[in-house]
Amino acid sequence: MSSADHARPQVAAQSLSLVVAESSKPAAPAKPAASAVPGENPGVNKLRRRVVWSCVWGFLAANLLMFLRYFFPRTLFEPSTIFKIGYPSDFQPGVDERFKAQYRIWVIREADRLFVIYGRCTHLGCTPDWKPSEHKFKCPCHGSGYTAEGINFEGPAPRPMDRAHVELDAEGQIVVDTSRLYSWPKGGGDHFNDPGAYINV
């Protein structure tokens, strides 16, 4: 079945190319129309079809690039990453959960400094829960555990939770920026003592 099926279209193609060659180049006696390789005919000018095809492919390629760029919006309608959370004196020592629902942060006040933990598990991005009775953060997705300072000690989390940039404005209010994060990369040194990672209180 297959040999017969394959044979037929080839014959047709050959005879077609012969016809094309004869009609388009009647005054070409030097070269015989039938070439050694079927489907390849030196007598036909292929420049036009090449130009047309490169236009078509170029157009499609440009469209593909536009299509890909289309998926990256310029303007985002997301909540601002910079916000004020009040005065350092508003916070008691320990973990403050006040802004978790609104800003996804915890404010940690220690004896001499105050910093803000960004509430995103470093494993796969869920928001951990603060467990006051166990004095630790616990991620509900895959069970990563963090100390009250946000340092990982159990579960799959590879590194401590990031801390957000904090500074005091002219009034003395704390301004937090969660788009500027201070991290402790796995195997690297921590940036938790960099300026902006904490406020002296």
Partner: protein, 302 residues
């Protein structure tokens, strides 16, 4: 002008015309009755029937083969197949069941779309509304959910069967690759559908899933060599998936479009190629034909 001529023709002409009309009506009535009788007794003889079903369906092998070949819904099927190919113990029927589930999912999915708004806040309310108050809404949603779970299972089992029977081998290598693409598309359909109820389960599943995309080598801000190539949370592959840096309204809308329009369309094209190639590669693979050494013919000598 015509009216004048008629009145000039007189009463006699009018009577003749009336008589002719009556005769015509009688003949027409007779023909109509005749046609109605043949339609009722032998509907396959009518022009209407013949225009739809072009082949005469007598009980011959040729006619039955033509019945498959000339039907738009059946023409992807081979007219004849090997007896081994319909043995459930060999094929498990998993490819066909997967396709059947895809049809079920398409129909129930389109029906669910009539009540679902892909917007934050409204999406979850629509699901609750569908489950509690829309007539047959709960049935449709459960059909969609269970068919989705089943399709994931059957697609994997189909792949497993093809692997066990060696049906990925020559000449079916290309179709195996098409099948792998279809498997990925099925998983993507499942993943994008997960966010649509906009509940806690879906939200955190997509948070986790897109965090994995964030760790893609080169293209993710959290992946190897990503930051070196200038990837941030605002221009990497996760950002393109979510339409933002957080799982929010844009992510819900993108999920919806991929789930309901784009992936089913792409998948349908690949499915068409997949089914067509099954036939072109020699039909559903059967057990390898056994050939004894004595049966192998020696090369012909001239």
């Amino acid at each position: 002008m015509a009216d004048e001529q008629n009145t000039q023709g007189g009463k006699k002409g009018l009577a003749v015309l009336l008589e002719e009309a009556r005769e015509n009506a009688k003949a027409l009535k007779g023909r109509a009755r005749e046609e109605l009788e043949t339609t009722l007794k032998q509907p396959e003889k009518t022009q209407l029937y013949k225009s739809i079903f072009r082949v005469k369906h007598d009980d011959s092998e040729r006619s039955r083969a033509l019945g498959v070949l000339t039907n738009v819904f059946l023409h992807l099927h081979p007219a004849k197949i090997n007896r081994d190919a319909v043995r459930y113990s060999y094929t498990w029927g998993m490819g066909g069941i997967s396709f059947y589930l895809f049809i079920v999912l398409t129909i129930t999915g389109v029906l669910l779309m009539f009540y679902y708004h892909p917007t934050k806040g409204q999406a979850y309310r629509d699901i609750v509304y569908l489950m509690s108050d829309v007539p047959f809404g709960s049935l449709l949603r459960n059909m969609h959910r269970w068919a989705a779970h089943l399709m994931i299972i059957t697609v994997w089992l189909h792949m497993f069967r093809v692997f066990l029977t060696g049906s990925y081998k020559k000449p079916r290598e290309f179709n195996w690759c098409v099948g792998v693409i279809l498997l990925v598309l099925t998983m993507l359909l499942s993943f994008t559908g997960y966010l649509l109820p906009d509940d806690q389960l879906g939200f955190w599943a997509v948070t986790v899933g897109t965090s994995m995309a964030n760790a893609t080598p080169l293209l993710g801000a959290g992946g190897p060599l990503g930051p070196q190539l200038g990837m941030t949370n605002y221009n990497d592959v996760r950002f393109a998936l979510l339409g933002g840096s957080i799982v929010d309204a844009n992510a819900l809308l993108r999920s919806y479009i991929w789930h309901c329009v784009a992936i089913p369309l792409i998948g349908s094209v690949f499915m068409g190629v997949h089914f067509w190639r099954v036939r072109k590669d020699g039909g559903i693979s059967g057990p390898a034909p056994v050939m004894l050494e004595s049966e192998i013919k020696s090369e012909r000598k001239f």
